[in-house]
Symmetry: C2
Subunit: 172 residues, 2 copies
Amino acid sequence: MELQKFIETNGTLIQIEKGEQVFAQGELCDYVYLVKTGLLKAFYLTENGKETIKSFVQSGTIIGSLNAAHCHVPSTFSLQAIEACKLIQVPFKALLTLSKESISISQELIQILLSLSLKKERREFELLTLSATQRYENLCSAEPELVKNLTQNDIAKYLGITPVALSRIKNK
Amino acid sequence: MELQKFIETNGTLIQIEKGEQVFAQGELCDYVYLVKTGLLKAFYLTENGKETIKSFVQSGTIIGSLNAAHCHVPSTFSLQAIEACKLIQVPFKALLTLSKESISISQELIQILLSLSLKKERREFELLTLSATQRYENLCSAEPELVKNLTQNDIAKYLGITPVALSRIKNK
DNA sequence: TGTCAGTTTTAACATAGGTTAATGCTCACC
DNA sequence: GGTGAGCATTAACCTATGTTAAAACTGACA
């Protein structure tokens, strides 16, 4: 919570419209964002132009390309608003610096990274062991509200299938 | 490096034979392990008895079910030796406690968690956007030495396909 | 050297999901 | 109320991978 407070007081508020991008794959982005309101998607674009969604980002979440920010390399994914959003932007470096001075901030960062890695582990597990149908059912039961606000196109891209395949799955 | 030193001096050495498990899916495991020598696999077992490999664990790596250790819940995966191994075992809690007292340890933990999340991100990307053939090619070019030491069965389970499918991919 | 267990390959068939394209639906805007 | 853009469904066909089972290979050991 200390961390959240720091971001809110030291960060800058940015507002983005539906469809706009916060940052794009291939760009440097040294910031981390706290989502105040709205909904975003983080997605990859492959060379042949196909989009696959890494995650949906809901309010309350801290998001950023940690990779890009930390190693000063281009981001591997884009972040785009599905609905109009209010975000608070803060340089990732500021957080790291702060964490060097404060044990409690360090601990919070560790907590955040731990829970991030849990989330990714679950996702990895699902991609590795479940069928598209099972992944769809999981998503529906884990995030019923979210699913209602998404297009079938975006749900399909999140599941790693085409919208056509998702339509088929639904009609069973 | 401080962290590694701490583990080496405060941890207990354990040796396990090829085929033995360090911990099993479903068990509590509050430890973290530093791999001194050997090779292991971390894998999931699904209800219908199918095994899928999450990652191969080589010497120098720190491994454990962070999830299980941190939240005191059963591990979601098993850890098994592919070759005889020497590991150093230390309670995850000891690391967390230590990190609360030392900024430099906290920082190291943050680094480890960051690089862990990068690794998982790459894996997620591959599972989501690449075909089995591409994933196999990636693995061969990224870890040629590792691939030589694995059975086709284990490689297939890591790629998320059957050994039969992998054999087909190779003969193209 | 022969045998056996474990691994890999091959083959035949089944199924999930991809691709393309046509059709139908819905809602914002004139 | 009519029109058009974007979204969702359906259908026909294609390809990758799964499943099962048999055959071939490999290496350890009696």
